[in-house]
Subunit: 359 residues, 3 copies
């Protein structure tokens, strides 16, 4: 069964999840079928985005890829936040960064590396993205580090610091866009010619329609997913930490995942890395700040004080991803190392009893 | 108003601060005017140093730049240490490293980057400096890390370890000078020819005189600054941690700041980076050890056990600065990222209630 | 006295240690003489391995070097584990990583750098090794990080997580060998021609015999070393932490040390680095997991929950070694920096009172 056929098959879970929900087949069934239904929708969003990316060029294309991959993430998170699942939403932020840097980048390098002995990517862009991501990730972890290293930090201080950090990050995000689209756009334009040669121009309007419909359906399925999340995962014996860090991001990042792996197997590692690193960067620079501010507006205050072990895990993911991607080359072993790091972190979160030592 | 005119104007604060002090205009006024009076003096020291640097070449020039920038720092710190403000002095060490790596390097890359699309610097020297700085910074943070990760560390152990670390660092400092001036001086000599072409030979004796006079005046103003520091900052609602980490280094590093930014805007990024990184290196390899030993001699024992969040902040600053400077290229966005990191850390120190969780 | 003569002289400690043991000259004498007897044996193993390496090429040669260096380590550790010295064995794992990255690499770069102004090594292999080592080191530190950042982690959870991590690491180790010997062997083959030109083909069988005999003797001496370790080191006023982190690895790593420094002084930095980094990698990817599994089998359960300060020290060693080796060049100052880092860590472990703050 080819990739396209699997996606068509998974679309069946849209009606199945609806049936499960309205016919009361149980929370676990609803949760699983809604989760499965989101996968093809996110993947179609990915395909649509890739098609549109061919027309609009790799810069805007990479940005589009990351935005609409993160749209799934953002939709699930906003619905969960509104439902009061603050802990799961916070865990899904760190989990999403970890999963993009280790799981998505790992599979891209592994599957790309099984086809091509060595793959290369433009290290200038990789470096700028990595620097922005490093800054953003450190910034969102700062309230956690402060709370972890000091006693007597009140919730109000953490909330104020988190809001202040969120505002700085959104400004940085805007400047990053200015850099990549205006002042230094030429850095990102290499490879456009290549892409146009191998592809007939797709219909932008058609694919934009696909994007819109999928977005609405994702929102609908997310409502069912979030509504059943707590009971379903506790039935499976999973903690809210594991659910947030591992389960939710796998569903939410399916689009980037599909896109990044597909283009890696076509030896377009530049686009692949720009999706994985760009997506982590955008989670930290845009999604996390938006959620902090949204939580404040919705009256469901969400600070950036994560579980200290989440902080460790994100630091680990960033260090390994930097170490592996900084030379602008990849091979299957590097992909395997990223996946091994993800596995080990996943095991740790699985065993984690979710009680932090401080505070 | 041009830069030179601003400096001339700020010189007025020398008599004003004297008046404020002897006519008892209040601690806050004395503190602010003495701080403002130090700025042009430090800047003149910077100008004098840059002029002398043209004659003696970039190696010795870079060293001179860092030394006389750090002279301001060292003078303020010694006076504060003698006055018993051990906490402020300790915080000013970490703050000075952070401010050189993020604020000074950030403004240099931003303002340089607004004039030149991309600026380059010799990565060999940058790398050797970065390695020395990494080692030095890690070494001065080690007593903090030990105290933070273990219970039952006595003050005597911390003091002994700090003294031992100080001796090792001063030896390393001497070897670093041997490397850059003797065995591998050729690495640092590139660019001398350029400098000589664009500049008529300045009068070394004249500028040395300026350096001397400014040094004496800085010492005098520092006495007034330190004498009013505690009351003035508590009037402003600032903690001693914030004062040490943020306020004192901005005053103390004004010289490096002015020099680094000025030369960055003339596209001499090599000299600019060598000032910022070299200054951080020298704070950790020379100023901090000297203060530990001076404290021991003066009977005001000062160990290297910092607030754990200072350790986090320095680690963050070093990681981001390494990540951004390691490719030997810079642009305005990289400068902005450094400044954003500084802003976020500044916010965290502003909100910090200054009670460490361990010990 | 030449190197060879020193080694011949040290062989005298084999009969001396036997006499000390059976004539009851005291634990300290047995400990010291057994330790000294291991040095020439390990060094002969190193020489034998280097000779064999010339025939079998640098890849397999580098691997052989690391394996038989680590054989000494593994033998001592297994005997100590069986004797119930779990804390010393755990400390010797982190100590061995630290000593390879800082002491062995440091002396190689320093002594090589005193002969050659600048030495270079193939950065592709260095980078792959560094990435594997980074992953492995992070993985073995993860249980410690989890226990340190959370309360309520039971010993059973730590044991299970440690076993799971061990299995993942052994799989990664197998894949690393597949990479370096099969799919990407060409990356490691540069330099074979050079080696063959300068050397007549040695007798593989003779040197294999030497390896075998030395291995058996090392095992025998290790029995005496371990049997007297606790009493001897407490007589010297050393904690078990210092013994495990500093003393045991210096004895256990003598082979790599001798090999790495010798080849560095012949300007074969590729082989030298591959010994030092490869050995650290192998400790983390192979020796540590084998010990965890062996402890489980032997009924002496050993988890990977180290003293938090060991975690800090390993992280520091890895960061500095990465920072210094990532550019594929070395000089005497870089060697000195590594040795300074080792000295400072050694001082900290010397002063450490061995009571962790959590758990």
């Amino acid at each position: 069964m080819s990739g396209k056929n699997i996606l068509l098959f998974l679309l069946l879970f849209i009606p199945v999840s609806l049936a499960a929900n309205f016919l009361h087949w149980g929370n676990l069934i609803v949760f699983i079928t809604a989760g499965l239904a989101i996968l093809p929708l996110a993947a179609w969003m990915g395909t649509a985005t890739e098609e549109i990316a061919v027309v609009v060029g790799p810069t805007l294309g990479g940005l589009l890829n990351a935005t609409f991959g993160n749209a799934t993430e953002l939709i699930i998170a906003l619905i969960a936040l509104n439902a009061g699942l603050v802990d799961v939403v916070k865990a899904s932020i760190t989990g999403s960064i970890i999963s993009n840097l280790l799981l998505v980048m790992g599979f891209s390098m592994l599957l790309g590396g099984l086809r091509y002995k060595e793959q290369t990517f433009q290290s200038v862009v990789a470096r700028v993205n990595a620097s922005s991501m490093n800054l953003a990730v450190i910034a969102i972890l700062l309230p956690t580090a402060m709370n972890y290293t000091s006693a007597g930090i009140s919730e109000k201080i953490l909330q104020n610091l988190s809001l202040a950090v969120a505002v700085v990050l959104i400004l940085v995000y805007a400047l990053t866009l200015l850099f990549s689209m205006k002042t230094h756009a030429y850095l990102y334009e290499v490879g456009v010619a290549d892409a146009e040669e191998v592809h007939t121009k797709p219909n932008v309007w058609l694919w934009s329609g696909v994007l819109l419909v999928c977005t609405l359906l994702v929102a609908f399925e997310s409502e069912m997913l979030v509504g059943t999340l707590e009971e379903a995962t506790s039935q499976l014996g999973l903690t809210s930490l594991f659910t947030g860090v591992i389960v939710v991001p796998i569903i939410g990042n399916a689009a980037e995942h599909a896109t990044a792996v597909t283009v890696a197997m076509k030896d377009k590692m530049d686009l692949s890395l720009s999706v994985a690193v760009g997506s982590s960067m955008q989670i930290a620079l845009f999604v996390a700040p938006v959620l902090v501010i949204a939580g404040w507006v919705l009256g469901k205050p969400m600070d950036l004080d994560f579980n200290p072990f989440e902080m460790v895990a994100v630091a680990v993911a960033v260090l390994i991803a930097n170490s592996i991607s900084s030379d602008g080359k990849s091979n299957w072993l590097e992909g395997t190392l990223l996946l091994a790091a993800y596995t080990v972190l996943g095991l740790a979160f699985y065993f984690h009893p979710v009680i932090s030592s401080v505070g």
